[in-house]
């Protein structure tokens, strides 16, 4: 069948998208709606002494100004409710994304004009703008109720690293850093809040986890959850940036206070400067290997900048620590991971969730070891990569079809590596396009968990409703799940899984719209988890619905509609455990996906500019559900990785954003992408995944920047101390300027 699992039928949402008829949150309007604008904190760290709304209230068309006094329970946060919804008099702002008030007016222009007239008197406090200062005993505290600014520390201890370093013939050590990164989804924050016909506080917004928003909004408004409702229409990209609430609670509050529809649409500057980012990491490392390339020990210290509030910084750190040393076998490992409060931007989930920064570290030191050992980088990696049953730094045996070696082998062969007399030999790179340009090639591997980790109960519920013909065959199937299609195509993938399980054409499958009052909780569109976790839930519901049908048919009840719900829990087949607080030993992850990317670059030694000529990408996401969407995820991941490696950095100066718009924050254009992208699917199936699928949403972003960095080293001899490798960074390194 041309539309079953493994085929590439037309995406269910794409016709409406090319016609421009798909509605995103900013496309909804309601009769009698008002417009709102946020008054943002003007300081990164200060006590709010006085809020004077009189001048703003005097503006014609202003209806109301909502402040902290209007919020029933003035706190929220996905992991821990440490963020004020609105900062009131006598309390602190901790970053420039904190909110003071919401101006509600008859139209958007009036709301925005009036918000600038809200006068706020601040008592500025010292700004903590870097993690090293933040960790000092005498640093100003960001949160008064905590003993210091260290939000969390994870130790991992395996074996004895001193012994490991004593056994090593070569040791490399150093430091490397990664930047704040903006999600830069194309659809700015927007939505509408209103009271529905049943009196429920209702929000239409782009979300990744509608039921968690529901839970948080109910808590904030002190309402039972059945008095709150969230509808998720088309989402214009998310990448983790919509995992925690950003506008949902504000819209709910507006509706709750005004009892009328209130719409809000942020501009790009608000989107970039007032929302969460990818964590910057600061790594220190020391790694040893024997002459034959066998790794003996890794010692790693990493510090992540949590920004002003916890958000998901602790779960991100959990991931980062487990992946810090890379997908390699180490007899001895000593890892310390910290996440630290500052007055910088709140940092949160972003594609990779703590698995994106580590490859910049571990793939750098693997190439440094290869260079010291005089060994080919592919050969060194193949010697040390984890396989099925191998023990990771957290002491667990790897499971679920470990395809990483195969991704490396296939990527290397595609890029022209040859195996000669038992050794790997890198390809000839051809002549650079000009005498002042140099070519280089770089390889990087990476891996990532699929599903929530460390004992977190990862569950997803789906409902399937079958409409039956007279003979009991299926006329149509409706799938109900709150798995949000943020653009990745999960709706189509789940429909394909349903069609294949039910044995019907895709055209007979409908996926219900996401409305928390109608569809069950699927967890978030994150952790590369929906194909695997929600795919299992949909498959389970389909099988249960078929069983129900067969039973009622036997009883000849004449039923024309049968349905079933199924709750899939990751722990049912793959239990995970939290870190041991002393040794860090645990069983961290449900499943994994793996990938290798290779970059061929040309560096202009006169300008420092890096041109990526070609990339090869081999990813193991298990069974590929839809090859066209698979390629789309790989290419989109590479796009984000190219930006990460070469151009993207959200810059703050003393807590004040300096990159505020797309003319200052550079996501790659089509001309900045590799001229060619060769993609290979390595399908090592996970027997616990639906049809053997794992997950793909994040892995393709992980190795890209590291592969480019290694290629730059191959071309120029420069070991980068930080990314992005902008023209300026490379030019300064080549010309000996710091």
């Amino acid at each position: 069948m041309s539309d079953t699992v493994g085929a590439a039928p037309t995406r269910l949402d794409i016709v409406a998208k090319v016609k421009g008829t798909r509605k995103y949150p900013q496309d909804f309007n309601m009769d009698g709606q008002l417009w709102a604008a946020v008054v943002w904190a003007a300081h990164p760290h200060a006590i709010v002494r006085r809020i004077d709304t009189s001048a703003a209230e005097a503006v014609a068309g202003v209806v109301r100004i909502i402040t902290a006094r209007d919020v029933p329970v003035n706190s929220y946060g996905i992991s821990t409710p440490d963020q004020p919804v609105l900062v009131g008099e006598g309390t602190k702002v901790r970053w420039v994304g904190d909110r003071i008030a919401i101006v509600v007016a008859q139209d958007r222009r009036t709301a925005y004009r009036a918000r600038d007239l809200v006068r706020v008197d601040y008592e500025p406090l010292p700004v903590v703008s870097d993690v090293f200062t933040a960790m000092r005993e005498d640093a100003p505290r960001i949160h008064e109720n905590r003993p210091n600014n260290i939000l969390h520390h994870i130790p991992i201890r395996k074996g004895n690293v001193e012994e490991g370093f004593a056994e090593a013939d070569v040791i490399v050590e150093g430091e490397i850093a990664t930047p704040f990164v903006e999600h830069a989804y194309m659809q700015p924050e927007a939505g509408i809040g209103y009271i529905d016909e049943q009196g429920r506080v209702t929000v239409i917004a782009a979300a990744q986890w509608p039921h968690d928003d529901l839970h948080q909004i109910a808590r904030m408004l002190n309402l039972p959850e059945d008095q709150v409702r969230e509808i998720v229409p088309a989402v214009g990209g998310a990448f983790g940036g919509r995992e925690d609430m950003y506008i949902q609670h504000l819209l709910a509050l507006c509706a709750f206070v005004m009892r009328r529809p209130v719409k809000m649409v942020w501009d790009r500057e608000e989107s970039i400067t007032r929302t969460g980012k990818r964590h910057p990491f600061y790594f220190q490392y020391k790694v040893g290997a024997k002459r034959d390339g066998t790794l003996t020990a890794a010692q790693i210290r990493l510090i992540s900048d949590a920004g002003a509030y916890a958000s998901t910084s602790v779960p991100v750190l959990n991931n980062a620590a487990s992946f810090a040393a890379g997908p390699y076998k180490y007899p001895h490992a000593h890892i310390d991971a910290y996440t630290v409060f500052t007055n910088n931007a709140v940092t949160m989930a972003m594609r990779g969730f703590g698995a994106t920064q580590p490859p910049v570290l571990y793939e750098t030191f693997m190439d440094q070891l290869a260079e010291k050992l005089g060994m080919d980088p592919v050969e060194l990696r193949l010697k040390n990569l984890l396989g099925d049953g191998d023990i990771s730094v957290t002491g667990n045996a790897m499971w679920g079809g470990v395809g990483i070696k195969e991704t490396l082998r296939q990527a290397a062969l595609a890029a022209g590596w040859r195996e000669v007399a038992g050794h790997w030999v890198k390809p000839d790179l051809g002549q650079p396009s000009a005498p002042y340009k140099r070519r280089g090639i770089g390889v990087a591997c990476a891996y990532k968990n699929v599903g929530y980790s460390f004992g977190f109960d990862d569950k997803s519920e789906a409902e399937v409703i079958l409409r039956l013909k007279y003979d009991g065959s299926i006329a149509s199937a409706t799938v109900k799940t709150a798995a949000v299609d943020v653009g990745q195509g999960v709706t189509t993938a789940l429909a394909q899984i349903a069609a294949a399980t039910l044995g019907i054409p895709l055209s007979r499958v409908r996926v219900a719209l996401i409305d928390t009052s109608d569809v069950p909780n699927a967890g978030s569109s994150s952790a590369s988890r929906h194909t695997y976790i929600t795919g299992n839930a949909v498959q389970g519901a389909c099988k249960a619905a078929l069983e129900n049908r067969d039973r009622i048919l036997r009883e000849e009840t004449g039923e024309t509609v049968v349905s079933a719900r199924y709750l899939y829990r990751g722990r049912s087949r793959r239990p995970t455990t939290p870190y041991d607080p002393v040794t860090g030993q645990c069983n961290p992850h449900i499943s994994y996906s793996y990938g290798t990317e290779i970059a061929l670059v040309e560096v202009d030694t006169e300008t420092g500019e890096t041109d990526v000529l070609k990339m090869w990408a081999a990813h193991d996401a298990g069974k590929v559900v839809n090859p066209a969407m698979y390629f789309g995820q790989v290419a989109g991941g590479v796009h984000m990785g190219v930006g990460y490696g070469l151009t993207e950095e959200f810059i703050l100066q003393e807590g004040v954003p300096r990159t505020r718009r797309f003319s200052e924050y550079f996501i790659p254009t089509v001309l900045d992408m590799p001229k060619e992208l060769a993609s290979v699917a390595v399908e090592v199936e996970d027997p616990t995944g639906p049809f053997g699928a794992k997950g793909l949403g994040e892995t393709p972003t992980l190795p890209t920047a590291a592969a480019i960095a290694n290629a730059i080293h191959d071309a120029t001899g420069i070991w980068l101390k930080r990314i992005p490798a902008t023209s300026e960074v490379i030019w300064r390194a080549i010309h000996g300027k710091t």
């Binding site: 194309m186 989402v235 501009d267 990745q488 989109g636 796009h639 797309f662 003319s663």
Partner: protein, 159 residues
């Protein structure tokens, strides 16, 4: 207030607008043509691309009065009587849209590109759409879609 008269997707419209309203605002808020997307507000990303007298413009920074007396085509007007224009069908067949927020802008930029150059090389295509940003696709399937559209349009031209 000023009076704006223009032809939008084949229909004449007459509106009283504020002189500082952008074309994107007028199209979306006054005419309900929501297919024109606003993403950056500074003409950097191309999501708001529409055609004025056949020329692609970023409507988020185009004063609406610039369209006075002229013909504007938005994504809603591209396909005419057909369900999908050939360019739109090529985007569907190439899986050239993920979140889709940038898609109408890319489709309109493609229309302008192929009107000016019906037989573009891959390099021409890349230069032609380099003013449009996409955060999801990595652009390859979009470039494929433009090439496919060019090929099909040329075939449609054949007698």
């Amino acid at each position: 207030m000023q009076t704006l008269e223009m032809n939008v997707n084949g229909s004449d419209v007459r509106l009283d607008i504020h002189p500082d309203e952008t074309l994107a605002e007028v199209l979306r808020d006054r005419l309900g043509l929501i297919g024109t997307k606003i993403a950056c507000g500074e003409g950097e990303c191309g999501a708001c691309t529409v055609l004025i007298d056949g020329v692609a413009v970023t409507s988020c920074i185009t004063p609406a009065m610039k369209a006075h007396g002229r013909r504007v085509v938005t994504i809603e007007g591209l396909s005419g009587d057909r369900e999908l224009h050939t360019i739109q069908q090529a985007f569907v067949d190439s899986t050239a849209s993920q979140c889709g927020y940038c898609t109408p802008g890319f489709v309109m930029a493609t229309k302008a590109l192929l009107d000016a150059n019906p037989n573009p090389s891959r390099e021409d295509i890349m230069r032609g759409i380099s003013g449009n940003l996409c955060r999801c696709t990595g652009y390859y399937q979009i470039v494929d879609a433009v090439a496919l559209a060019a090929k099909r349009l040329a075939e449609e031209e054949q007698p």
